[in-house]
Amino acid sequence: MNAPLQIRDAQDRPTAGRTTLGTLVGLGGAVAGFALRPVIAGIELGLGLERELRRGLTRRTEAALLAGLDALLLSPVAGEAVDRVLASELTRRTVSGALAGPLVEATARDLVTFEVIERAADELLASETVDGVLDRAQAADVPRRVADRLLADGVLDQVVARVLEGPELERVVESALDSAAMERLVVRVIESRLLNEAVERLLQTDELWLMVDEIARSPSVSAAITRQSAGFVDEVADGVRARSRKADDLIESRIRRAFRRGQRERPGGEGAGT
């Protein structure tokens, strides 16, 4: 009986050692986890505080930026700054240089080629950015001030004159007219129902026919029609006159030749035949 017991003890001894070690490790881990729980909680609390702080800081920064922008736009400094920038020689030189250089042409060509305007317009119209910007600019009365300043200083006149006199506009128009996008746009406009309806409504308005009547009754139109009619009658009469005179000369010369008479003496001027 003792021999089997000895064998079982010899077999159970290492297993019991491993179990004890595992228990000890588990116990140690539990103790460590319990002991570190405040640390972890502290870290989580710190991270949360950091997030909240960051959010609050971002909100306050944005609010401060918008408030600053509002204050800047509403302040007379903004108007003065716009005035000074527009009145500066640098602005004039920049505008002239930009219009005179190849940049305008290349930009216009690329804008048309890559349909940048269409895509940008789609993006802008899809977002609310445009509305927000326009609301703020309108609230600050910026457009009126900019327009007033542009008109008062003649900057707009100079720009318009430069654009009209320069070859850039012609080239831009030519490239736009040659582009397939413009062709598609024109075809779309012509085929659209809007144009037909606009023409129909225009034809239904009394004002159009009043205007047509006024034009038809105008002295210049009457004079033009009279001139044209008189011109036609004169033309016919000139033709008849030329042919009849040619026939006169022909008949007369043949008869004179037949009767062996010399050519008729032709008078040279006023009084020669009197």
Partner: protein, 174 residues
């Protein structure tokens, strides 16, 4: 040294018109031949008859709805004939003695004037010319043949009335 700008077209035309007014070129006289005068006369005859036929048709239509005795109708026909004669004579005499141009002459650019000076014939001379023209037509239009031979392209009626037919410039100088 300043450069003067070249004058505009309007300025050049105005200057040319002023020069023409200051020194008008003498009008070149051309005596008009048989064909031109015949065409003008045809146009005048057409105009005279269109008016006469129109008036006659209007009077005839008016009388057709009225009961007019036969004698009155005869008298009206006679009156119509006299009116037609007066209308024809008055047409030529009036135009020849006022402007020297009947509407047919005006269209063909010709005019009647005295052969000794550049004046339109007086009414008596114009009437004489018309009578002579009728006489010239009687012998199978032989009275018009001298137009082909005469140096001043005068017919018998021109010789009798002392007139010539000359060109009338559309825009007289001066």
């Amino acid at each position: 040294m300043t450069e003067t700008a070249p004058p505009s077209t309007a300025a050049r035309l105005a200057a040319a018109a002023a020069a023409r007014r200051a020194h008008p070129e003498p009008a070149r006289v051309e005596y008009e031949g048989l064909v031109t005068r015949a065409v003008a006369f045809t146009l005048d005859a057409a105009l005279i008859n269109v008016v006469a036929v129109g008036v006659g048709a209007a009077i005839g239509l008016s009388l057709s709805v009225l009961k007019v005795p036969g004698d009155v109708e005869t008298a009206l026909f006679a009156l119509g004939g006299v009116s037609y004669l007066l209308w024809s004579v008055g047409y030529f005499v009036t135009f020849w003695s006022t402007t020297g141009q009947t509407p047919g002459n005006r269209l063909l650019g010709i005019r009647v004037r005295r052969d000794d000076r550049d004046e339109v014939p007086r009414p008596a001379r114009a009437l004489l010319r018309l009578l002579a023209l009728t006489v010239a037509a009687i012998p199978l239009l032989a009275g018009f043949l001298p137009i082909l031979f005469d140096d001043r392209r005068r017919g018998v009626h021109d010789m009798l009335a002392g007139t010539v037919v000359v060109n009338a410039p559309k825009y007289p100088p001066g």
